[in-house]
Symmetry: C2
Subunit: 340 residues, 2 copies
DNA sequence: TGAAATAATGTAAACGGTTACAGTCGAAAA
DNA sequence: TTTTCGACTGTAACCGTTTACATTATTTCA
């Protein structure tokens, strides 16, 4: 079997520097002392040969990949830019690589998750990227996982970084009710199994209940936290001659809010005069929408950073805080009817 | 040396199925026939054992990683969501993994690029992620690369996917000049070595020249294609008592346009009555800004898709088209002064 | 001064797969 | 009937590192 690779290996370096491969390896990894002269020689030889260690060989021998994964359920939301930015920054600082993949939990009938113990040292799982069974399995194999925008199943106690959803959503919807006198509030939920969506819906329902408004399931639509889907679903809703009266819409998140604004505009509704609109996330563009969007500020990039940092503390076998829930804050702008 | 791993290996599968590891490997990779009975038995054993091939071992033995890289210069722009989405979709369809990394060409003094032949089968390089020397090196080693939003250095002829910048920018600036009678147009350029920025500036200057307006370097600011930086630079510009008169601003891209709108608003300028604003990219929020943003529509997700597809055609040793320049289109909205 | 600790290095066995090469065996071709 | 061929399988070398273990020279210390 003759498979000569063109690339330069640790053996080439060893030979040219007149030492053993073990010494080269030790110098590269700085995990055992090497005499100054040898170090110097190795530096020269390595740059001369443009030697770059072969990642797969390292991984195989050392049983660590220096790669972490980020599993998302989709990439259809501007929200992911700050999240990714936070994660990537930490990963880079640690000298690791980041694999980004999307995976639908419901597509798992036929496929393995693209990220796991076979190709990474640990992973960040966004929202409903994996189901409880998958998580239990990973936990059993002691594979480092940190959940992002999702709490751990109680029995597993996996570290989890998320933001406060339910209370703030309730407070914001109550603002609509009490300050702006809205009573028929449309809610666009996100993906059914996404915790953010569930909590926000809970907040929405609590707000109604606390103010003596009966919940009307006709006022709940599936916006999927996606601009285009939110637009379609609103367009369809409005196209039906708006049989159901409504005077406000909680879009689920800012991205969906854009779709809502589009549909509302096309059907001739004035915002906020005729219908108030609120979002969630406070993405960069929120203050500049027309009208400026009342929404909840969530520290998305920070969530990404903390999540990645938590993963690395686990990788270093240090104890990690189990649940971090970052505070959120309502930002009142014009789309709810406020003057600001 | 005794380093027993807890994970199940191909040898475990082979033993339990009563065949050799070669047969298991062949069945997994479907690269040689295996008798139906053996196939059946292997299926059972593999699912029973929950066997997942170890990526690094595969990579080492087969000399291919089934991973491709995407090298960005930063992650500070909503523009990257559609780009990433396009790339990731193709990569997933091909059964590959995607490493996303940011890398500043000027930080290279001390570090190797995080992506390269050592850990991927090929890579997508966004804009100025790598300098010509790096590209030449990769080319020499026959490492598959495709450039995104950047043309190939003439001598290297690396496949490249980008969009038309200069002509459309010129046309848009001329719209400002001829239709809206603007003459003192601020330009916020992006990162200095980013081709998009250079081409757009070229279009800007051509527009001035073609209309007898002398170029004033005081009207060019560094917005870096970043919302926050654009805001700061505009804020500073306006804070100087606006010594330099201006009646319009070409923000460089949509994200920067948001920063510009913010600064303009804070300093009491009305858009578009007092100053017109134009962007580039036509990100999802552009129609919903206040005022709706006149901009250039660029097919960003498509660029991502085609770039990834091109990379895979190279990986399959098929001939790839060398340069793809996708058409762009001006979308007239209110921020330039049009009524729409 | 002799023993023990330490520094610096080498040898070679793993890590978990892929694949070149060499069969075996039954069916088709001569 | 003999030869040829293709389907199927096994053996073992190899991919490029890391690291347990061994070795030698040099200090350190009682």
């Amino acid at each position: 079997m003759t498979r000569r690779s063109s690339s330069v290996t640790i053996r080439d370096v060893a030979r040219q520097a007149g030492v053993s491969v073990a010494t080269v390896s030790r110098y590269i990894n700085r995990n055992a002392p090497v005499s100054p002269e040898v170090a110097l020689r190795l530096d020269k030889v390595m740059t001369g040969l443009k030697y770059v260690p072969h990642a797969a060989a390292r991984h195989l021998a050392s049983r660590k990949t220096r790669v972490v994964g980020l599993l998302l359920n989709n990439l259809h939301n501007d929200f992911f830019v700050p999240l990714l930015n936070g994660v990537e920054a930490v990963v880079r600082e640690m000298g690791y690589n980041l694999i980004v993949a999307t995976y639908h939990a419901n597509s798992r009938a036929h496929s393995q998750p693209p990220i796991g113990p076979h190709n990474t040292d640990g992973m960040l799982v966004f929202s409903d990227g994996l189901v409880d069974d998958d998580l239990a399995n990973l936990k059993k194999n002691r594979f480092p996982v940190v959940l992002v925008y999702r709490r751990s199943p109680p029995s597993l106690s996996i570290p989890s970084i998320t933001v406060e959803n339910a209370e703030i959503a309730q407070k914001l919807v109550e603002h609509l009710i009490n300050v702006h006198n809205k009573r028929q509030i449309l809610f666009l939920r996100g993906p059914v199994h996404q915790e953010d969506s569930i909590k926000r819906e809970l907040g929405y329902q609590n707000a109604l209940r606390a103010n003596g408004i009966t919940f009307d399931e006709n006022l709940v639509l599936n916006g999927e936290f996606e601009r285009d889907i939110a637009y379609q679903v609103m367009d369809h809703f409005l196209g039906n001659g708006s049989r159901v009266a409504f005077d406000a819409v909680f879009a689920g998140d800012d991205d969906a809010a854009i779709g809502v604004l589009k549909a509302l505009g096309q059907h001739g509704f004035r915002v906020p005069e005729e219908v108030a609109v609120i979002g969630f996330d406070d993405l960069g563009f929120a203050p500049f929408l027309n009208p400026p969007l009342t929404t909840v500020h969530a520290p998305t990039e920070t969530v990404g950073r903390i999540a990645a940092e938590t993963l690395f503390t686990i990788l270093e076998n240090k104890p990690a805080t189990e649940t971090v829930i970052l505070p959120t804050e309502i930002i009142y702008r014009r789309s709810c009817g406020c003057q600001y």
